[in-house]
């Protein structure tokens, strides 16, 4: 059984804990063991926190990586594009720049006694599902769920920057769509699919009106394609689509994180998915 350190981050455990319980159940049923990372912190967020001080950003990320490194697991698993980007990018930088690693490790050692040795395999859950679990194994688990038209939202930091992540084509990806289709839905094409939700880079915190305009344009394009549901793979995109629709008033498209969608398809109890905290009602 594959065994992964489960990185929680901030938005999932604190605002959408249903994504966490769904993820735990879904991965258990697919034969992937998730182990808690005791004392992990915020990743920290790749847009907003990296903007302030990159040394601090890398040092806190290195602490999270070092915790996973001590755990005797196959790697670290994230269910969030932001956490994935920070932990993957920082690991990449530290693995390829010995001088930088020395500098960050000095801070890390002084603060925690730990060091990062460059051995953590950082995984995004969609990529792990596609490459390790496989589309067929997912299809075999599907017990129910409706064939709905899904707007698959990849977000930005799952695939990009693609020169280091090397998961899929950043302009025309298919891995996420394939999983959604295996779960019994139809992934529909819509205008400007692949565009940012609008929340990242500190834009939601600093200029929420600008973030909302970007989200509104995506929602308009999804609506024009006649979608029934938005499926995301990042709690921050999830929050942005969920909350923005209430602010904009004219849209009512349910938003599901892929873990919740798979939970529904695998026949988990709906109570385990925490859908009642969604601000845009989910009646599926």
């Amino acid at each position: 059984m594959a065994k992964y350190a489960f990185f929680l981050g901030c938005i999932m455990p604190l605002r959408y804990p249903g994504i966490e319980s769904a993820s735990r159940e879904v991965f258990k049923s697919l034969g992937v063991e998730l182990v808690d990372m005791q004392g992990a912190s915020c990743c920290p967020a790749p847009g907003v926190m990296r903007s302030f001080d990159q040394t601090y950003w890398m040092s806190v990320a290195a602490r999270n990586l070092a915790i996973a490194e001590k755990m005797n697991v196959d790697g670290l698993l994230t269910i969030c594009n932001g956490c994935f980007d920070t932990l993957f990018e920082v690991a990449h930088k530290l693995n390829h720049d010995p001088e930088l690693r020395k500098k960050i490790n000095k801070i890390l050692k002084d603060a925690t006694g730990m060091e990062y040795n460059g051995t953590v395999n950082v995984r995004h859950f969609v990529e792990l599902l596609y490459r390790d679990v496989g589309v067929e194994a997912i299809r075999a688990k599907v017990k129910g769920g409706k064939n709905l038209k899904a707007a698959v939202h990849y977000g930005c930091h799952f695939l990009k920057p693609s020169n280091i992540k090397k998961i899929d084509d950043a302009e025309r990806p298919h891995v996420f769509d394939d999983i959604v289709e295996a779960a019994g839905m139809t992934s529909v094409a819509y205008k400007d699919k692949g565009t940012c939700c609008g929340a990242g880079g500190g834009v939601r915190a600093r200029t929420p009106d600008v973030a909302l305009k970007m989200t509104a344009e995506n929602l308009k394009n999804m609506t024009a394609a006649g979608v029934d549901v938005i499926v995301d793979c990042c709690p921050f995109c999830h929050l942005q689509y969920d909350v923005s629709q209430v602010q904009l008033k004219e849209y009512k498209i349910p938003v599901l994180h892929l873990s919740q969608l798979l939970g529904l398809a695998f026949g988990l109890e709906k109570e385990k998915l925490g859908l009642e905290v969604h601000q845009t009602k989910v009646n599926l």
């Binding site: 604190l14 319980s21 912190s41 903007s51 930005c156 920057p161 880079g201 500190g202 109570e271 925490g274």
Partner: protein, 194 residues
């Protein structure tokens, strides 16, 4: 009726305005600042040949007057006073679309991050951002833990307080110590200025 270009007073006036503004903006490049951008992580800044693919791809620029190409140009010329105080710098969502499409391989997001770090050190840190930074430097998370969150987590069969820094005071001390060693706590307390 068509007026010949040279006799059209509006066009003549516009040409005049453009030439004056170009003169007014004519400044000496400052290679020292450009070097600082390179050292702070924007090592590809000089590769840009201003094609504008970045601006054409930018979802934020579609909604605002933010033009990524201009930010890169100002960094390239070392126009520190134009770029660091600019609100534009903060309209990038770090979506990496420009970074992916740049025909010159300019790592645009890395340049923006380098510039933002420099802007923060000059005191350009908006209050909502300062609050977010304060939250992580004090609690280790960007989102707070409320009683209702604990209740919902328990109802879902999860540990009420997540097994993160929230559950472990020693870990929180470690994260705070990192902030102190990087000078991040002081940076946040002073609203950016150091």
């Amino acid at each position: 009726m068509l007026i010949p270009f040279q006799q059209n007073p509006q066009i003549r006036r516009r040409r005049c305005v453009v030439s004056v503004s170009v003169l007014a903006e004519a400044k000496e490049p400052n290679p020292e600042f450009t070097r600082k951008v390179v050292d702070a992580g924007g090592k590809t800044v000089n590769l840009c040949f201003q094609c504008g693919t970045c601006t054409g791809s930018c979802p934020s620029g579609r909604q605002t007057a933010f033009r990524v190409r201009k930010v890169v140009r100002r960094a390239q010329l070392g126009f520190e006073e134009d770029v660091l105080p600019s609100e534009d710098l903060w309209l990038c969502t770090t979506c990496f679309t420009c970074y992916e499409r740049c025909p010159r391989g300019v790592e645009i997001v890395d340049i923006i991050m380098a510039l933002r770090n420099m802007a923060v050190r000059k005191g350009y840190m908006a209050e909502p951002h300062r609050k977010v930074a304060e939250l992580i430097s004090k609690t280790g998370h960007l989102v707070s833990l409320r009683d209702e969150d604990k209740a919902l987590r328990t109802k879902l069969g999860l540990q009420g307080t997540p097994p993160t820094v929230f559950s472990d005071p020693k870990s929180l001390e470690e994260v705070k110590k990192i902030a102190a060693l990087c000078g991040f706590d002081k940076l946040v307390a002073s609203g950016g200025k150091q």
